[in-house]
């Protein structure tokens, strides 16, 4: 299990390759990558991501450990950035390795749902004219009840 919380960009290709290479005995590897995009259609210039140093790492570890308990997993990777990102930048990625594909898929899906609502990150969108915090969506909270 590897948890990384950093301001710097990460290299998706290198991370995916290294993650897959570390466990050649796993039949299934799933990765999810989140990319900054202008969802509001109001010319997003900067996506600022604030987090709670100290708690962030603990919360993410707790989520990853929960996934490892629920599914048969060989490995879990979570990378999450903070700071000022621009559209097209990769915010975060998760990767799961499992003997069977259903475990790898479900665990990655679970990790995303929980990182969304239970890891202390907050997003603020900056356009040329405005800045505003992204509101949590009811559907993101509701998604947790799937698990």
């Amino acid at each position: 299990m590897r948890i990384v919380v950093q301001e710097e960009p990460f290299d998706l290709g290198a991370e995916a390759e290294a993650f897959a290479a570390s466990r050649s005995d796993m039949g299934a590897i799933v990765t999810f990558t989140g990319v900054v995009r202008d969802l509001s259609g109001k010319d997003l210039e900067v996506m600022e991501i604030e987090h709670y140093p100290g708690m962030t790492e603990k919360a993410v570890e707790k989520i990853a450990s929960e996934a490892a308990q629920r599914w048969s997993l060989g490995d879990v990777l979570v990378i999450h950035r903070y700071g000022r990102l621009v559209p097209g930048d990769r915010i975060m990625m998760v990767a799961t390795a499992a003997p069977h594909r259903r475990d790898a898929f479900e665990a990655a899906d679970f990790l995303m749902d929980y990182l969304k609502s239970r890891a202390p990150f907050w997003k603020k969108e900056h356009t040329a004219a405005t800045a505003g915090w992204v509101a949590a969506k009811d559907e993101d909270e509701d998604a947790l009840s799937r698990w």
Partner: protein, 81 residues
């Protein structure tokens, strides 16, 4: 005890962190004390349903005890991922 604020709570109160001395036994009592301080606190804590709280970096609720707590953080619902 250290109190931390994040996102719009930090912006509304105007600081990221402060040290307070309190006899509050629960988060809710601490909130009552903070609200009474100044308008900016009253505004930030006006609607608790829009807030989340962590005690010693563990997400909890407003009924939580502050016994032995060193750090309390207030923030809006998280938007990670």
């Amino acid at each position: 005890m250290d109190i931390l604020y994040f996102a719009w709570v930090r912006e509304r109160i105007g600081l990221p962190k402060e040290r307070v001395t309190t006899k509050a036994a629960t988060v809710a009592e601490l909130v009552t004390e903070l609200r009474a301080r100044e308008d900016r606190y009253a505004a930030a804590f006006a609607d608790l349903s829009a807030l989340r709280v962590a005690v010693d970096q563990e997400l909890t609720d407003f009924d939580a005890s502050l016994e032995g707590a060193r750090e309390v953080a207030f923030f809006p619902p998280m938007t990670g991922g």
